[in-house]
């Protein structure tokens, strides 16, 4: 018997979930086979809030379903605390899922829905009753136990789905875009609640989303997926501040991208004579003729007036093409001839901040060397 019951937390090395070179190919009869997950490896620690972030169709749901046991990998293996889960049906895995569509049982009350997993495990009915009450309180649904799912709002249904999974105290909770059906306000509130629940219960959360903001707010670590592969893995700050590839940079937040060729390890030549200085020797100096993409976040760019600045400020002239007022911020879109690119500058609208320029005006923009980084080709 492989370990379906909890072993003492965090004692064995290799505790947590290990996904080792997992591939899933769907052979649709008649059409081309789809490689939904492609040779993917991940290690997810205990008590971690781990997020899978990626565009639609990148294999997030498929990966979750393989962890849950609802789908079998074509190759590779999934291990929990060192034991392979291969061949273990979903109902023997200490893993529960909050489904994208909630999948609440329509013929059962909220209480019966939440009790379902406990009942299936043959727990004592008094224990079940207590647990149901406790979990419903945890998701703030006290007093709704008698209702049917159809009599609840979307947000309440979502919390029932969460309670139903949480009640079992699984080792791992899989959440497949659980917030996507909620309106913005409720979504924001639920983000915090999910984070709070994860900390309170100590359960590993594997959270799927294609909303980058959601991923950044809640996660301990984020894996950015594309076409069934992990493009980048790391804590939210790292993913946001130093996306390695153009795909990740574009997917997470707005990014200015500048093309050029390295002159030496610290300088990039742009089009004509203009140069972009770096704070450290980060450029590959061997392949001289290789085009490189360099990125900078709009909020790192600055508009400078006559103020003094040094070489590392990388100041260029640009014409304002568009102004976008966002409430807290204002975005200024500039055409910068020297860079051969458009640059977006994001300004805070704080009290006493400089008045943003007008469309058509010529301004000077600074791309601080410390905020620049090189993208992988």
């Amino acid at each position: 018997m492989t370990g379906e019951r909890a072993s003492p937390a965090g004692t064995v090395s290799g505790a947590g979930l290990v996904i080792r070179r997992v591939t899933k190919v769907f052979d649709a009869a008649g059409s081309q086979a789809v490689r939904a997950v492609d040779d993917l490896s991940l290690e997810i620690g205990e008590n971690e809030f781990f997020t899978l972030l990626g565009p639609s169709g990148c294999g997030k749901t498929t990966l979750l379903r393989m962890i849950a046991g609802l789908e079998q990998p074509t190759s590779g293996e999934v291990l929990l605390d060192g034991d392979p889960l291969q061949g273990l049906p979903p109902y023997r895995r200490p893993i529960n899922t909050v489904f994208q569509s909630y999948a609440l049982f329509p013929h059962m009350s909220v209480g019966e829905n939440v009790a379902f997993g406990l009942k299936m495990r043959g727990l004592d009915s008094a224990v079940i009753a207590r647990k149901v009450e406790e979990v419903l309180a945890l998701v703030r649904l006290e007093g709704l136990a008698e209702r049917r799912p159809a009599q609840l709002s979307g947000g309440q249904q979502q919390r029932v789905a969460l309670a139903r999974a949480l009640a079992n105290e699984p080792k791992i909770l899989l959440l497949d875009e659980p917030l996507s059906a909620l309106d913005l306000k409720l979504r924001k509130q639920m983000r915090l609640e999910l984070k709070r629940l994860q900390k309170a219960t100590g359960i590993t959360f594997i959270f799927v989303t294609h909303d980058q903001e959601e991923a950044l707010i809640m996660s301990d670590r984020v894996a950015v997926l594309s076409e069934g592969r992990v493009l980048q893995l790391g804590p939210p700050e790292e993913i946001y501040q130093r996306p390695r590839s153009r795909f990740v940079a574009d997917f997470i937040g707005d990014t200015n991208i500048i093309l050029g060729r390295p002159k030496d390890a610290e300088r990039l030549v742009l089009g004509g004579t203009a140069e972009l200085r770096f704070a450290a020797p980060v450029l590959p100096s061997d392949g001289q003729d290789q085009a490189l993409s360099v990125a900078i976040r709009p909020e790192s760019c600055r508009l400078v007036n006559g103020a003094a600045y040094d070489d590392l400020a990388n100041v260029f002239e640009g014409r304002v093409r568009e102004i976008e007022y966002l409430g807290a911020d204002t975005c200024v879109l500039l055409d910068v001839e020297a860079l051969g690119a458009s640059i977006t500058v994001r300004l805070r609208n704080t009290e006493g901040a400089a008045v943003p320029p007008q469309e058509g005006e010529t301004v000077r923009v600074s791309l601080p060397a410390a905020a620049l980084w090189v993208l992988e080709p």
């Binding site: 049906p89 979903p90 893993i95 529960n96 569509s101 999948a103 997993g117």
Partner: protein, 297 residues
């Protein structure tokens, strides 16, 4: 989505008119003739004599002895009870056999479901009489089963299979099974697969999943199938006539005989009304149970 288009009153009358005429002429009028006929005297050459009489209803429970006094005769009540029992047995067997079939079909890929459903209806393509006759070939003393068992050395004397209540039940189940399979299939097919996966995810093995998720959600289909099987089974007369060998009559045979050889239309009409009452009673009981039951759509 737009709501249904509104019709004016005259439009409604125009649209429903033809249907109402057909239903009125061919359903309501004949149905009214039945109770009228049941309160008349039988004409020995068929038809009725227009004289009021409750003779037909008396006949259901009593017969005249040689002195002309009425004594209780349980022959007809027994036929009614046997009919109810056989119809209930048929319904139960159809459910047992039909549910797994419906479940398996509903879980197939969409493309295959159509073919399988077509196969379920294949028996309808030939005449019921012929299909029931073929069961005689299978069940009789020198039939397929007995010959087969004898050849295999399992039995020496042929088993009594034909002309039993069991034979009637087999014939009825065979006849009405599709009426059970189709509505249950429709109900299961509508169940979100996600619910089945959710049940598995919540530690329910296949059996528990079937019991706690599929079965309750298929209940409307089961109820519809039960009615579709029970009602015609109760009034059927071909299977008991051919497979019951005239010894095991059902209500349908009795009624049919009154309008045929026995030439007792009032009695036949009275029995028809009793059959109707039995069906209505069962339907009301079902509806009552569903209303008070826990399940609500």
């Amino acid at each position: 989505m737009t709501g249904p288009a509104r019709l004016s009153r005259s439009g409604i009358a125009l649209a429903l008119g033809p249907a109402l005429v057909v239903v009125g002429l061919f359903l309501v009028v004949p149905l009214l003739l039945v109770p009228i006929a049941s309160f008349m005297e039988a004409n020995p050459w068929g038809g009725v004599r227009p004289t009021f009489s409750v003779e037909a209803y008396v006949q259901v429970l009593f017969e005249e002895d040689f002195t002309g006094e009425l004594i209780f005769n349980d022959a007809y009540p027994r036929i009614v009870l046997r009919s109810l029992a056989l119809a209930a047995l048929t319904t139960a067997l159809c459910l047992l056999a039909g549910f797994p079939v419906a479940y398996v079909i509903a879980l197939q890929p969409k493309s295959r479901q159509g073919i399988l459903l077509l196969l379920v209806t294949v028996p309808f393509w030939t005449n019921l009489l012929i299909r029931t006759y073929s069961w005689i070939m299978i069940l009789r003393d020198e039939g397929l089963i007995n010959n087969g068992l004898e050849a295999a050395g399992v039995i020496e004397e042929p088993l009594r299979l034909l002309y039993t209540n069991g034979a009637i039940a087999i014939g009825l189940v065979y006849t009405f099974l599709p009426f059970m399979v189709l509505p249950i299939y429709a109900a299961i097919e509508r169940i979100d697969r996600g619910l089945i996966e959710a049940a598995h995810d919540l530690y329910a093995n296949r059996r528990a999943m079937l019991r706690h998720v599929v079965l309750p959600l298929a209940r409307p289909g089961i109820a519809a199938g039960a009615i579709l099987v029970f009602v015609p089974a109760l009034g059927s007369f071909i299977a008991p006539a051919l497979l019951g060998g005239g010894k095991h009559l059902m209500i349908g045979n009795l009624i049919q005989a009154q309008f045929g050889a026995s030439r007792n239309w009032p009695f036949g009409s009275a029995m028809s009304l009793i059959l109707l009452a039995a069906v209505l009673a069962v339907l009301l009981w079902q509806a009552q149970r569903r209303r008070s039951g826990a399940w609500q759509p």
